[in-house]
């Protein structure tokens, strides 16, 4: 059972309410596809991913980045039942999309870096720690239905 302190809940809510999902979602996904190019394997049907410029201007990738942030939003709104909230998504990523769960951590790292760039000094060590704990719980929940 994941236990969240009042402080951690407050930090997560504060981070997400400061984010523009339409901006940070595409940035985080693009960063992941550029920095860890093997993740492009899951986006074969998304169009031109030939180079960084193509990835950054790809509307399908941008739309999907926004979708991902809205998916994370569901976890933020259900902090005490993230595993249950993500049961269907986990099955989808395992059975249909066949995504190696290690890749969730890579995307999480990229999102952390985009948030750090946005918040600057506001992204304290405590904030980073709490956010990474949240992402670890999310990643764990997404990997739960794999077998």
């Amino acid at each position: 059972m994941v236990v969240w302190t009042e402080s951690e809940l407050s930090i997560i809510n504060s981070i997400f309410s400061s984010l523009d999902y339409e901006d940070i979602g595409p940035k985080a996904l693009c960063r992941c596809l550029i920095v860890y190019p093997w993740t492009q394997r899951y986006f074969g049907g998304f169009g031109n991913l030939y180079n960084a410029a193509a990835i950054k201007s790809n509307p399908n990738i941008a739309a999907h980045g926004i979708k991902i942030l809205h998916g994370l939003d569901r976890a933020v709104k259900n902090m005490d039942s993230i595993k249950e909230t993500y049961a269907e998504l986990s099955t989808l990523h395992s059975e249909k999309l066949h995504v190696d769960p290690d890749n969730f951590t890579l995307l999480g790292n990229c999102l952390t870096i985009e948030i750090a760039a946005k918040l600057g000094d506001g992204f304290t060590a405590e904030t980073q720690g709490t956010f990474q704990k949240f992402m670890a719980v999310v990643v764990n929940a997404l990997g739960k239905q794999y077998h």
């Binding site: 960084a52 952390t112 060590a125």
Partner: protein, 143 residues
Amino acid sequence: MSLTDNDIATVKAIWPKIAKVANEVGPESLARMLCIYPQTKIYFSHWSDLSIQSTKVKEHGVVIMKGLSLAVEKINDMANGLQDLSQKHAFQMRVDPANFRLLSQCIHVVLAKRFKAEYTPEVHLAMDKFLSNVALAIAEKYR
């Protein structure tokens, strides 16, 4: 995943800016790693204070950045250039190489915080490849 000419050029272009604030970036990255990945504390159990304010942590953060500056200097042959550091990590400190990734993530976060929009995915990619190669060079003498 060896460094291309473009990677080397990108790292060398940003490094002078990083070097200017090395005495802050190093300590902050190390302190964050100890705080966020508490298992890494075991390598520093000989220090009583591992908090962000710790003098020892600050000093060691600076030492780490000096090591990275050396790696930039020897970027074309890190395995040979970082031999002494590799010996230390292999035989004295015996740091599990998995931990190098954790420190790398913290370095990326601290650099992104400081350089913001300048820490583009392309710069991040080159730095990540550079840090991965440093980790490989450090682990060269492990077995």
